[in-house]
Symmetry: C2
Subunit: 188 residues, 2 copies
DNA sequence: ATACAGACCGATTAATCAGTCTATAAATGT
DNA sequence: ACATTTATAGACTGATTAATCGGTCTGTAT
């Protein structure tokens, strides 16, 4: 693992544990096993590091989802896959999932160019748009359907995080939650 | 408005605009029109101020909702009222709504005693629990139903914030969203 | 009048920390 | 071999800022 990545990984762990303000760059460097100067060689400022971390997580997530969207199959199946897979990703990467929210509700969000969001939402937007056009999903703005869909991924995640179920029960609840989401979003 | 409240109000504005780290206590004091020492007279530390602000907003919100829950009427009507009213509150108090999320995804959250959350979730929990028992809502854990319900308030808020509709259209979308939520959560 | 309480003040301080600087060492190209 | 770029190191600093502290002011009870 090269130093640049090591810095990112360490920053993720510390930022989530202690917050942006609570983690000095010196601590990140120390725990990443690099010198202070090295950190600032790769990232000009602390904020640049924070933004780079955000972007790296976001695009990892986007690529991950994209591989599912592109898979063969009916729209409805792909729709379900995205939901299930998103929840799984969040459960497997709780720090990354948390970091995204932490960053989203920080004044640093504005440092991310507008277009990046549209770009990364594309897979969702396209699939949902197609679903609406083909009358598989509600006749509502694609942004509304997307927002409610995302709200649901977040909602079930919060529940599972607190509930502490075993793997089987957890899987069942994710499926139950999806059935409910489907009842909310399907064409009627 | 007494100084203690003025400090809270100013802190809210600045914390939302510039983040916790980005707003020095001296700036809060200055813009609140009080001396530096006064701020620390009322709040022993900066973090204590942050927590106090969080608690004050949370209980304002809880009281606000509570007044609706206690209103007469069918469970289903009250359920709908909570949804609609929560969205309205968020739209009318965007800074407070934002601050809650900001604080929720900060390392300071642990400074809030566990019990406070259960306490403030009570109105929801009780109503939803009753709805489930009376087979008006899905036969799922009350925590799951609550989480999905909250996810939806958040989802529609995000949509409305970005969509910039006029008052009439906005109201219509809130109602549409509620109908969808109802289809998700109602007993089948 | 006198005593007391507690809200308020703002200059000061002690500590922290983002970012710089200078010096090497690797790697890469010629 | 030599030159140039890239990567690494870590000591240092200047600015910032949370929190303190000694003291003032105002109202109220005695």
């Amino acid at each position: 693992m090269d130093k640049k990545e090591k810095i990112l990984a360490t920053a993720l762990r510390l930022f989530v544990a202690d917050g942006f303000h609570g983690t000095p760059t010196s601590k990140i460097a120390l725990e990443a096993g690099v010198a202070n100067g090295t950190l600032f060689y790769h990232y000009k400022t602390k904020e640049e590091l924070m933004v780079a971390l955000y972007n790296s997580i976001k695009s990892e997530l986007a690529n991950n989802i994209l591989s599912f969207v592109q898979a063969e199959g009916f729209i409805t199946t792909r729709f379900k896959n995205i939901f299930i897979h998103s929840v799984h990703w969040a459960l497997k990467n709780p720090e990354k999932f948390y970091y995204i929210q932490q960053f989203n509700f920080s004044p640093h969000l504005v440092k991310v160019p507008r277009g990046v969001f549209k770009q990364q939402a594309m897979p969702y937007t396209q699939l949902i748009g197609e679903g609406i056009r083909k009358k598989l999903l509600r006749q509502q703005p694609v942004e509304l359907v997307t927002a409610l869909f995302n709200g649901q991924v977040y909602g079930i995640y919060q529940y599972l995080k607190a509930a502490d179920l075993d793997a089987g029960e957890q899987e069942k609840k994710i499926n139950d939650a999806y059935d409910m989401v489907w009842d909310m979003l399907k064409y009627m």
